[in-house]
């Protein structure tokens, strides 16, 4: 397989509602990514579009709808979809286009316009459940997360305050992100613990917001990357894995599917000891406890250890393992697939030394990004090197 680099990234503002159509948001993100890569649309060989359920935007076959805004007209074009996991999975699809030799330059464009669905995106989530076994109970999406979070807390004896620290860290980190929707420089653990209870133990400030937004990456073969970029960031390992769709057949306290995806990615990247070798990580954090869950699934913390690392400051931007230096979904926002901009995009900017006020110290060399989705039992992982 050929070497593949990320040579440009871009993203729109993340906001509860933007005037821009989905196509227009895609255009804005692509324009930024191409500009950073020093390329034009005519240099692009193929385009990968990533987006979560059509039900958010309210346009069926959204991939086709977004085509011209994503720059895919008269080019090989495909949409990939793994729910929230699309945030790191469409970059993997872009990677295989280049690694296989099919294309030298690929655009990856992710989009979500969650403001279209009213009164709330919950109306789409209400229909992801099994119509026979789950829907008669009229579940809210938060319920299942609440059970998972509770199971995680119970098995490892975790205090809610130690989970709330993730929300505080990420919302504070987001102050340095120009696209952020929910940055808060003054938020405290007490604010999180005193916020409205949605489904115990999940409270309002444990959850990321729904957002409109788009993000884009430019991927290139080694030849092209070395010609046009002074700071290519190499994709050195990829992995993905999905567990049973039956909630009742999963281990809720540990994301085994993620550990498998991570092992696949580490194996390809020749990472033997991730805890020692990974310098910066962007795990998927739609809920504060998910960052902890995912650090453990990524084998960057022992089971039940991530809250302790968080309490000790290890995961702060200047800590030993900077985690979600972007501000994450908790702080920057959660336009599902478009969070690629704060996962793969952020690791690219961090390793390229272009993260500005968010830059973690010590010129990081190895980064990991991860996303999670489908029916909350899928993960995609990418290892990147400066």
């Amino acid at each position: 397989m050929r070497k593949v680099a990320v040579i440009g990234a871009g993203m729109t503002l993340f906001r509860r509602r933007l005037l821009e159509t989905g196509k227009e948001m895609c255009f804005q993100a692509v324009q930024m990514a191409l500009e950073e890569a020093g390329l034009e649309l005519k240099d692009v060989d193929a385009v990968v579009s990533g987006s979560a359920p059509d039900a958010f935007d309210g346009v069926h076959m959204k991939g086709e709808y977004l085509l011209d805004g994503a720059g895919g007209v008269r080019k090989p074009y495909m949409r990939v979809f793994t729910g929230g996991g699309t945030a790191c999975f469409s970059p993997i699809a872009g990677w295989w286009h280049v690694a296989s030799g099919l294309a030298d330059v690929v655009l990856v464009v992710n989009e979500e316009k969650m403001s279209s669905i009213t009164p709330h995106p919950q109306y789409a989530f209400a229909n992801i459940w099994d119509p026979i076994l789950d829907r008669p109970l009229k579940p809210n999406l938060v319920w299942i997360f609440a059970m998972e979070m509770n199971r995680y807390m119970t098995v490892y004896g975790i205090e809610k305050a130690d989970i709330a620290r993730v929300a505080v860290k990420n919302k504070r980190n987001a102050v340095d992100h120009p696209a952020a929707q929910l940055a808060d420089p003054n938020i405290t653990v007490d604010d999180v613990l005193n916020s409205e209870v949605m489904a115990w133990p999940v409270q309002r400030l444990d959850i990321s917001p729904p957002s409109d937004g788009a993000s884009a990456l430019v991927l290139a073969s080694e030849d092209v990357a070395r010609q046009v970029s002074e700071t290519p960031v190499w994709i050195s390992g990829v992995g993905w894995c999905i567990d049973s769709t039956m909630w009742t057949n999963r281990d809720l306290s540990f994301p085994e599917y993620l550990a498998r995806a991570a092992q696949q990615a580490y194996g390809m990247a020749k990472i033997e000891n991730p805890r020692k070798e990974v310098d910066v990580v962007e795990p998927y954090d739609p809920f504060d406890y998910k960052e902890l869950h995912h650090l453990e699934g990524l084998l960057l913390a022992d089971k039940g250890e991530a809250p302790i690392l968080t309490r000790e400051g290890v995961t702060q931007r200047d800590g030993e393992l900077p985690t979600c230096p972007s501000g994450g979904l908790m702080g920057v926002g959660n336009p599902i697939a478009a969070t690629m901009g704060i996962k793969t995009g952020e690791i690219y900017w961090q390793l390229a030394g272009k993260a500005g006020r968010r830059q973690v110290p010590g010129s990081p060399q190895v980064g990991v990004c991860q996303a999670w989705g489908d029916l909350m039992q899928f993960s995609s992982v990418m290892v990147m090197r400066a």
Binding site: E20, T21, E24, L34, E40, S116, T118, A124, P131, P136
Partner: protein, 149 residues
């Protein structure tokens, strides 16, 4: 087994949507509502004018900031006559629909033609008829129909 014997449940996938007009669409519909005119965006790089207008050129990806008025005179390019509605129900009166292209514009508009089927033909010249001012809301239905010139 046949249908009646199956154990089954009813459900729906209920959702209401609010779609934003977009940056280009916002001006397009304001111009129709306030000024009764069709406006397109021009790409100097590719020498193309998009109707409906777009924020970007799909070919070179330039951001388009130049707006041009499209003369209200088009030609019918393709026609269909609909006998059923969007739910598959029989229409009381068949609906003639045309794709109309405008001189100098890339793209065009699809809308109803206010003529009997037998009077509409490919190549015929038509113009846009707008709803009266005051009834216009800044949407695609501010365009009432095409009529023959």
């Amino acid at each position: 087994m046949v249908g009646e014997e199956y154990r089954r449940w009813e459900g729906d996938m209920e959702a209401l949507y609010v779609y934003t007009a977009g940056v280009a669409g916002d001006r397009f519909f304001r111009e129709i509502r306030d000024n009764e005119r069709l406006m397109g965006t021009y790409c100097p790089e590719c020498d193309v004018t998009y109707l409906p207008p777009r924020l970007y050129c799909e070919t070179c990806f330039s951001e388009l900031n130049e707006w041009e008025e499209i003369p209200n005179k088009g030609r019918v390019d393709a026609i269909t006559v609909a006998y059923v509605d969007d739910k598959g129900e029989r229409l009381a009166r068949p609906k003639v629909l045309a794709m109309v292209r405008f001189l100098g514009a890339n793209g065009g508009l699809i809308h109803v033609v206010d003529l009997p089927e037998e009077d509409v033909y490919r190549g015929m010249e038509v113009e846009v008829v707008y709803l009266p001012r005051g009834l216009r809301k800044g949407s695609f239905l501010d365009i009432l129909h095409f009529k023959a010139i």
